[in-house]
Symmetry: C3
Subunit: 500 residues, 3 copies
């Protein structure tokens, strides 16, 4: 404790020096100063956010001088004009004006609204490159250009009309898609025109963007790039701290289709996080286990650079994210090894469907990572677990997870067999009838078996949040749903017979 | 940072002066001192809470001296006896003894248990007056005296008995109502007798109150007033800080019928709140965007006085709350413009039902605000958005919301048409048969279409928390529910035919 | 405020003295030093956690010198070898080596992985003894050895296969059970072999444990003891602070079967907790109402030692937990008085079923606590309420709860009567047919009536979180479920007739 007090005093003294020193070096570019001169009044919120950010307090040159493990910039050098200015409005919103189709004239500047990974890559190229290999970067295409998944979207978002005793699905429109699936998957952002608007500074012309606002992970940007760094590093603080907290992931990983956050929060890790995180250090780079935090968040296991207190690396930083995950646990009819390519539209199973398994669960292995690669990825993850847990525990944990993958796949198979019987006996129309496999009641029950209940149960096993493997959208519902599917089938067949 | 350190030191010095100064001026009334002399022992929790509150640290006179924008008291003067004492037990619990039917003799004082908006209005008249125009203030009557809504309550809270193959609804009782709908809507609080109780201070007589405890927003109080300030400013700290946090709103706005809190928490705003709010200032008045907070809470957009860092008002404080909201998004069969009067029992649609739209969605326009008023309210809201966001973004956002209002109304219409067919073909009994429209399975499915799924989807659009517009009680469920309603109808018609 | 500043300075001075003093007394045992010499590198996370814990900062002797109300150690003396060393790795992991069947040789030490209540009882015997009377300590047996409840587990966790138009339940396996129900109830932990593992320190032999990892409340340990202290005091910080926060209870009390946490969070108490707890003192012993906290958490009402600011005890510490609860509200078909014995497998109702009530709700009174004991327990709880609330409020609250117990039991009875009719008329197979009462759709609907909806409604009444008594798995669902059960019955009977 004596040490604590002493070090506080030393810190205070240091702060005094450092602060004078740091501010002397800080320089805001002339262009950014011009932006700030108005935006301080017209958008005070974001200016204040930015002022508190690291971007406003550090020039790239300062960042480049830090020791490698502590560095957040991954470029080894940056263009001269950026080197000695902080990263302000103009630096991000006027870069690459020619590749940006959303560039417009704004008080003498060629400005774009939508800052993209390509813009961020000036200072953070390694992260952007890794992220391109992340399946999330391809979330737009993987949904919109995969006919099976696109049909799931269409039968969810499409408005239905009740006409002459029948329900008719209308085509889903782009605004609805943007408000629903594409909010997380990302929209296609395009300039569709310009509009003159009355502002606090008088009349001004702004672009009208379709698919905007959006900060989805696989956004198609007006400069041709994909993804959106602000999905996890919200503008205009671009904080590493926010990205490390589970609330960021929860924006898209909380619903019944992917309840990762909810599972985490009922795990022991989540309990410790919720109870203690107010005393953790979320800005430290590297992130030191035991010192900066005492239980993992999502970022700890899937993304962050983790070291022990002696600077030994436990896990390297990754923005590919799946390189610590052997399996895909969610979003699929059956859990299976991770796909080799983040662009999953290239996959074809034996039936010719763009799915990584057959309808009955066998993996389309040539599109999936090998057993060897799975082991490498598992080892990376286990290495993190071992920073706190024994080999006995870690082995026991992953054995259970593997088993749960098998049993949940088996419960999906039972549901699929009931569905196949329904199609075969004419109680519903499916693949054989060239009809949607998602538009009827029994098909939607089948979807819930894997998209909600089996997913949830696997997450619960993966993160030890058993509620979601038991009664909270877990095994209870998998079991009940099968009974209800079978009852539905029997009722439907009888009713159809009677009405013939 | 130098500035930070300097200002800390200055602050420290100031605190020293101010605190000596302030305490000299503080005076607790004689009556309150008497209360405290016992209650410090018999109810230590609330005394300690109160001691930490502003009420215990400031006299009305001190409050009146503050500059207008900083002032939390809205009276321009207060009765002489209150002026120079802090706001203690006696000040609130012995005021207006004659209008309080719950006044009883307690150790020589005429005390009432239930402190009401009329009591608070001595110092806060503007807020109480605004709140009277808030639809929430009328939540008791709007539920209990509207036959349609009251029947929804009755078929939810009424105990059912299974007799001779039939389910019979019993009338809901007042205790159940108080534990269910009226917990939020507010109860009718009445003295129903007195009881002598053995306390730590010996035997004492206390009133027995029906409808108590309750802090619902539309409570009918024993002094004839409506509402309850402690709904949002919990006794006995009466904190502005608590009211500004989303947990307060969540008490009544979290369930599937009105998942505002849940939607907020999966929005970017909610993420930033959860990640950063521990460093925000929730007590500052006025509330400065960017400085005191960097993402909005419920209060920011709907209630609080917001300024920029230069003292320019972005939004005026309001306790009417709906004056920044053009539409009513929830609690209705179809979303529509806000009603003109907060007492919605006066509304009649063309069918004579007390609903703001027809059963098929057309608005009962004469009871609803005009397009012009809608635009004024929307502008007030947009003005807040613009403190951080561009015109392009804000326009895009509200265009989507308007579209989602239309599509969710359309999905409710499809459900209504199935229900109308069920009534018409005799599969269920409804309006035509003068039966409840909420008591049968298909009717309850219909209710969920609008009360759960369409509401949820609209909230998701309004606050950009797309989970709740997709799989979390959103479009997925709207779509599936329609299929299930139609299946139910077909099964029922066939089964009825067979059993004839 | 002057006082605040002064006391800060005094505190600072004190800290300086105390810290020099305290550290002089601290001694880490030789064995623990040896553990730390490697584990600081191989498991840095837990070492860092432990170093921040009280166990690492206090010897039992220091603990024993504290005044009784402040003491966390409940032993009056401890073995000599523990007295003057802090509670480190070796103290807990090498104690009682002979009774630990999981003891193995590890670098010259006889170590066990699974630390148990028997190990903790060296310093905390009173808590362990109380916990043995807690129904939670018996959660494994009460689930696995009660044929009715075990069948509920089997029909939830057992994988189903669809063969020849029928669904067949397979027996649930132990890994699935461990991942599902037993995660909270506790597993049976046994050594099933040994494995040589490549570690950072070279090859090492570790035990392979079945049922591991697990920290369920009723775990069967390798030393014959039951329970797991780390359920609530997570290793390796063993913090009283974590156990007092609601997130700990939420690990097992959040799902639809037992939504205590969710109900709490929509109550006024939960709101105040969420809004203000960052300024509360969660480590103070005793826990002073009003001073250390201003709204209760789970622990406040059910476990903790609570006093007022003058040292008067409001509630004694208990680890039996149910001794402040007259009723069992959840996990049962009908709510009823608490069982006398925490081992509920001894209960038999008139039908011979191991249930505390008949299928129609009458209590099996000889196994349940008396009215007198119920009153004693209720008084203990009310005493806590009265620290902040009036007699009028407390009486009103518990009257409503009693009423809600009656009405929810009535709603379960209606569901049971429909089920009995289904069994009797052959629409489903149940007790009369010696079939599972949980394996068919209508039976699962019946289970949800009590396990989800009636439970939830009662929790809402008990903790004033009305959302869960209204639309969030509350009365709305109880009411709807009855209609759906009856519809199912009528559909099924007709369909069966047609198919004869």
């Amino acid at each position: 404790m004596k040490r604590l007090i002493l070090s506080s005093l030393v810190l205070l003294a240091l702060l005094w020096c450092v602060s004078s020193n740091a501010q002397a070096k800080l320089r805001i570019s002339k262009a950014t100063k011009t932006c700030l001169s108005c935006h301080r009044y017209v958008s005070p919120g974001i200016v204040a956010q930015w002022e508190k950010s690291i971007h406003a307090q550090k020039t790239p040159e300062m960042a480049l001088k830090e020791p490698k493990l502590k560095r957040c910039i991954s470029a080894t050098k940056v263009p001269v004009r950026f080197k000695n200015v902080v990263v302000g409005c103009a630096e991000c919103h006027t870069i690459n004006p020619n590749s940006h189709k959303d560039t417009f004239n704004h008080n003498g500047f060629r400005v774009h609204v939508v800052v993209t990974p390509k813009d961020c890559a000036v200072c953070h190229p390694v992260e952007v490159k890794q992220y391109d290999k992340n399946i999330m970067a391809h979330a737009y295409k993987n949904l919109m250009k995969n006919p099976v998944y696109h049909n799931l979207l269409a039968t969810t978002n499409g408005v239905q009309e009740f006409v002459h005793g029948k329900l008719i699905y209308k085509k889903p429109d782009s605004k609805t898609n943007a408000d629903s699936c594409l909010y997380c998957h990302g929209t296609k952002v395009k300039v569709k025109g310009y509009k003159v608007v009355e502002t606090k500074m008088g009349e001004m012309k702004f672009p009208i963007l379709s698919g905007w606002p959006n900060s989805g992970v696989g956004r198609l940007n007006p400069d041709g790039s994909i993804g959106s760094c602000t999905s996890c590093h919200p503008r205009h603080s671009f904080s590493i701290s926010v990205a490390r907290k589970p609330y960021t992931c929860a924006q898209c990983h909380k619903g019944p289709d992917v309840p990762a956050y909810k599972v985490y929060m009922v795990s022991k890790h989540g309990n410790i996080y919720a109870s203690k995180a107010n005393k953790w250090n979320f800005t430290a780079v590297p992130w030191v286990v035991g010192k900066d935090f005492t239980a993992p968040t999502c970022a700890t296991c899937h993304i962050s650079l983790i070291t022990d207190g002696h600077g030994h690396i436990i896990a390297k930083r990754t923005h590919q994210m799946n390189d610590r995950s052997p399996w895909r646990l969610f979003g699929l009819i059956y859990a299976c090894p991770h796909p080799k390519s983040p662009d999953t539209t290239i996959i074809k199973n034996k039936m010719g469907l763009p799915l990584p398994t057959e309808l009955t669960g066998q993996p389309a292995s040539r599109y999936l990572i090998s057993k060897k690669e799975m082991k490498i990825r598992l080892n990376r993850m286990e290495n993190i677990c071992l920073a706190c847990h024994s080999h006995s525990l870690v082995n026991g944990h992953f054995e259970r997870l593997k088993h749960t993958i098998d049993t949940t796949n088996a419960m999906t198979l039972a549901a699929t067999k009931i569905l196949l019987e329904a199609w075969q006996k004419g109680a519903a129309k499916g693949l054989g009838q060239k009809d949607s496999i998602f538009n009827e009641a029994i098909e939607k029950m089948w979807v819930e078996q894997w998209l909600f209940y089996a997913n949830s149960t696997r997450f619960a096993a993966a993160m030890s949040g058993a509620d979601y493997g038991a009664f909270a959208n877990g095994r209870w519902y998998m079991s009940k749903n099968l009974q209800q599917m079978l009852d539905w089938l029997n009722f439907k067949l009888t009713v159809d017979k009677m009405n013939k």
